[in-house]
Structures are given as C-alpha cells and as structure tokens.
C-alpha cells in the first residue's frame, strides 16, 4: 500500500490506463491459461468421467500412464516428429529460402506456391494427402507409370511417419517466408567485404549469412517443436493411430482418453507431462542458443 502512495499522479494514471487496456487479456490469461494449467494438475490426481464428481486417486494416473505401452508408443512417435520431422522442415525451409532469394524467373509466383499450402484448411489438405497416398493416388500412380513398385505409405508402420513428414514439409511455407525475410536483412556490405576477402559463395553462406539468420532459426525451431508436440489434425485424419500405432501421437492419445474414454483425470495428467516436456525443450533450446545464436545483427 505504502509503495502505491509513493507513485506520482502521472505514474498512477499510466498504471490505471495500462490496466484498462490490458484487462481483457488479464481475465483471458487467468481463464484460458493460468486456471486450466493449475486445474489440470489437480484433475490429474483424480479419476473423473464427467458424470460422477472427481475422485481423488493420488498419483495413480501417473503410475498407470508410465506402465501403459500405448502411452510410450505415443511419446516415441511424438519425439520422432520433434527430432526428425521438424529439423527436416527447417533445413528444407532454409534451402528453399536461400534459393528463392536468388534472381529467379516467376519469383513471386513461386513464393505463392510455397506459401499457399500453409493457409489451406488442415482438414482439406489432410484429405488431399490421404488421396495422394492412396494406392491409386498421385505418388503410387506416378511410380507405377515409371514401373516402380507401389509404396505402402499408410499401411506399413515404417512408412507412415515418413508420409506425414512429407506433408509437414509441404506446409513449410511460413518458415520459408520468415527465413526469406531474414535473408533479405543480411547487410549487403558484409557480403561484399567477405567477397573482397576472397570468400566464395559457400564461405559467404557459412560465415556471413547463416550466423545472421540464427535468431530466426531459433524462433522456427521453438515454434516447430511446440507445433510437433501438439501435432493432431493431419495424423487424426490421414492415418488415425495407424498400423501398429505408428502414428499414435501424444495429442491424439490425450484426445482419445479425454473424449472417447472420458478419462479426464488421466488425460489431464498426460497434458501436464506434455506441458513439462515443452517447457523443458524450450528451456534447453534457449540455453543452448547462447552457443550458436548470433545476436550481432540487432
């Protein structure tokens, strides 16, 4: 209280105006973020099927979960996506952005083609890819045309995740646009200086361009990682849990437990572990960034 009195009238007026403008979000933050996260910690310690009131079970949900084969399957599939599909997406986005940054015929048309898949409703593009991967679909049809044996994209467990990775690469457009913007911000004089020092195209890329875009690469890595943890719609529509549960992803398993099995307590416990995993990955990425992200470009 005393510290409030020490505010000048101007400071107090600014504080009131600041709160006035941000109050919708302050309510929104508590309603849609803070409360649900705390509530899910508490629900995670109960058994709750929506019909009867929640029953306290302590750590039973966690014990059950860690002994559940399907749960570990979903963890494995999700980590696979974070560790393989996301880096592939980022490397591809970077290469595409470097290429699009060259002098090209039809440059803006090409940029449109790469970006368009990202704004198409996910259900529509998932359906489209379901048909592309069909035995009679685009890829296997073309392979047959070339005389190559069909690939069991969605029916063999070792092909399902690569198939979904292809779809993930197809929707890399927003990363491409962000990286392209970063590439265009690399100071021209640095490139010229490098060239005068006898650097070739490759040296220039490695020692000038890449260091300059590392902050954006960090940004795309973090958003990509979070995206992969909640990966749902494409897998849900294209393959479901898939053969041998090869595309049973974490978010899908939470969804199944919550809305098919009405095990709200168990689903909350899983959600909390996901929250911890995302927080840990974000922390590790930020900590590691001191070593590989270059902030000289500010």
């Amino acid at each position: 209280m005393g510290h409030k009195l020490r505010m000048s009238p101007r400071e107090r007026r600014n504080l009131l105006w600041g709160l006035f403008f941000t109050v919708p979000w302050i309510i929104g933050f508590f309603w849609f973020y803070a409360y649900p996260i705390i509530a899910s910690l508490i629900y995670g310690l109960t058994q709750y099927n929506l019909l009867q009131p929640p029953r306290w079970v302590g750590l039973d949900n966690y014990r059950f979960m860690f002994r559940d084969r399907h749960y570990w399957r979903s963890v494995y599939n999700t980590i696979w996506f974070v560790v393989i599909a996301v880096p592939i997406n980022i490397v591809f986005s970077f290469v595409a952005a470097v290429l699009l940054n060259q002098r090209l015929v039809l440059r803006s048309a090409l940029r449109t083609i790469f970006y368009l898949p990202t704004i198409v409703p996910n259900v529509a593009s998932a359906l489209l890819w379901l048909w592309v991967f069909n035995p009679y679909g685009l890829i296997n049809g073309t392979l047959a045309w070339l005389g190559i044996k069909a690939i069991p994209w969605l029916s063999h467990p070792s092909w399902t995740k690569p198939a979904l990775t292809i779809v993930t690469t197809w929707i890399a457009g927003s990363n491409i646009v962000i990286l392209l913007a970063a590439l265009q911000d690399v100071p021209q004089h640095l490139k010229e200086a490098a060239r005068i020092d006898g650097a070739n195209w490759w040296d220039e890329l490695l020692h000038v361009t890449i260091p300059y875009v590392t902050p954006v690469i960090l940004f795309t890595t973090i958003t990509g990682m979070i995206w992969a943890f909640q990966y749902f719609t494409f897998a849900f529509i294209i393959s479901g849990p898939g053969p041998a549960e090869s595309t049973l992803f974490y978010a899908m398993y939470i969804y199944q437990n919550a809305f098919s099995g009405f095990r709200m307590g168990l689903a909350s416990a899983m959600a909390w572990i996901m929250f911890l995993m995302v927080a840990a990955c974000t922390y590790v990425l930020f900590r590691s960034s001191a070593r590989w992200v270059y902030y000289g470009g500010e």
């Binding site: 973020y33 409703p121 359906l127 048909w131 646009v177 959600a271």
Partner: protein, 309 residues
C-alpha cells in the same frame, strides 16, 4: 609406347572438331559471366522443379474432383480428366448440407474476428504505447503463454465450458476471442512500436486522453496491421478443426472443417474420392481467393510475427 601414340592419334582423329568446341566452351566457362549464368540456370531449374512438386497436389485435387469414378481409379493415372465432369460439385451441395456448414462457419468467424480485433488492439496498445509499472513483466508472461499447446489446456477448458452449459453452442469457440489471443497481441504490439511515440506525446500535451489517442491517432495508423489480424483470424476459424470437434456435437451446427471430416467418414468406405475432392476444393477455395486478393498483406503479416521483438 606405340600403343599410346595409337590411342593418341585415334583420340585426335575422333575429337578434333569437338575438341576445338570444347576448348571454346571451357574458355567461356572460365569467364565469370558464363559461370554465373550457368549457376543461375541451375538454381532456376531446381526451384521451378520444387515449385511444380509443391503445386502438383493442388492439381491432383482439382483434376480428381472433375473425374468420373472410373477415371479416378485408372492406372497409370489420368492427368487430364476427360470428360470434365462437374457433377461431383453439384452432388456436394445436393447430397450434404455443405452450404449450411459454410454459413455456420461464417456465423462463428464474424464475431471471432471482431472480438480478436478489439481485444488485440486494446491489449497491444496497453503493452506498447503506455509506460506503466508491471507492464514488461505481464508482457513476458503473455509471450510465455505462446508456448502452451492447446492440448495442455483442452481438458480443463472443456470442463469449464461444460459447467457453464456452453457445450454444443458456439460460445466456447467465440467468447475466448474477446479476451485476447497472445499471438495477435504480439503481432499488433510489434506494429504499434513502429509508430513514433512523439505522436502520442503531442496529443497528451494537448490534453487528449489515452482512449482518445488510441481511437483517433493510433488505430487509424494501424489499419494494415488490423487487416492482417482480421485475415489471419478468419482463416484460423475457417480451418479450425480440434475445437469444433470437441465442442460441437449437433450435426446441424457443424463448421465446414468438421463437416468435411464427417463427410470423409461417410464416404471413405465407398471410396467416393471424386466428391471428397470436390468438397475439399470448395473448402479451400475461399481461403485461396482471399489470399490472392490480399497477398501483400499476408506476407507483411508473417514478417511481423517472425521479427525479433
């Protein structure tokens, strides 16, 4: 020795005219210009090939939607539908309430877009144009919520909305938009920061209140960014799948994404791909049209969020 000379003379005889040409080509390639032109052609070929690969699924979608069932399952694939068949599109509307689903989605999208604009602009103003105690802390918290996946809060939010008896209505899809989305708050704040603070200061000296500065000075300057937010939020609603899947159970209230999904469930076992592709085309058409009408706005918008804060 003689073998070598033999081989040499043979090579000479065979290669003489072409060797001269090769020499010319080599001397040309030595020149930087040609080398650069060669690189440029290579880059163009690679990017154009990638572009074709990326566009191919769209072409496949369109062409499949115009094929007869017989042509859809023809091997090797038919690249150009013959005859071009429009009945799949007619069947989408006569055999399913797709137009109704589209209307439902608009009924949700309109208030969501308005709510997102009002709350987003207000909160972003509070985070960027006024200096107040606790602002940066609160903004830091706001940024950290960007890292919370929807899946994490999904279950408790369902329980809250169930207690409010909102399940089955559009309220769980609409109401949150009026309380600000961290993504759009961040985007608009980035934009507000580019407006010189002197503009506000001058108005403050003239005795204008913050609300007046917000409405009369900052908002009119923010129209391009508001357009980005409106577009993104509309596209978000149009394509949203998981939230309607959880909250909407009555078929009459389906959104277009949900309708398309259920359509798949009904049709996939009949493998009626023609009609499915027609329905998908109809779902993505408005988005593609909006994109072509407002391409510049889009690209600016993505750059705005990708920017370092």
């Amino acid at each position: 020795m003689s073998k070598a000379t033999d081989a040499q003379s043979l090579e000479k005889r065979l290669m003489q005219p072409s060797a001269r040409m090769l020499g010319m080509v080599l001397s040309f390639r030595k020149s930087r210009q040609v080398q650069r032109a060669f690189g440029a052609i290579l880059v163009n070929v690679v990017v154009l090939t990638l572009g074709v690969l990326f566009a191919l699924p769209f072409y496949w979608l369109l062409s499949s939607s115009l094929k007869t069932t017989a042509q859809i399952f023809q091997m090797p694939p038919v690249w150009w539908p013959n005859p071009i068949l429009w009945t799949n599109y007619i069947r989408v509307f006569t055999e399913s309430p797709f137009a109704h689903y589209a209307l439902n989605t608009l009924v949700i999208a309109a208030p969501v877009t308005i709510g997102t604009l009002i709350s987003g602009a207000m909160v972003a103003y509070g985070f960027s144009r006024i200096e107040w105690k606790g602002r940066d802390l609160l903004f830091g918290i706001t940024l950290s919520t960007l890292m919370i996946p929807f899946t994490v809060t999904m279950v408790p939010m369902f329980i809250i909305f169930r207690k409010l008896r909102w399940i089955g209505s559009y309220k769980p899809l609409i109401v949150p938009a009026f309380f600000g989305s961290p993504y759009f708050i961040f985007m608009l704040r980035q934009f507000f920061r580019t407006i010189p603070p002197e503009l506000s200061d001058a108005a403050r000296v003239d005795g204008a209140s913050e609300l007046r500065i917000f409405l009369r000075i900052v908002l009119p300057l923010t129209k391009p960014a508001l357009a980005v937010v409106a577009l993104f939020s509309f596209i978000g609603v149009w394509g949203d799948f998981l939230a309607p899947l959880i909250y909407i159970d009555d078929m009459k209230k389906y959104t277009i994404a949900l309708g398309l999904f259920r359509f798949l469930g009904d049709r996939a076992h009949e493998t009626d791909w023609g009609i499915l592709m027609a329905a998908s085309t109809f779902t993505l058409l408005p988005i593609v049209l909006i994109f072509f009408l407002a391409q510049r706005t889009f690209i600016e918008g993505i750059k705005l969020t990708g920017m370092k804060g």
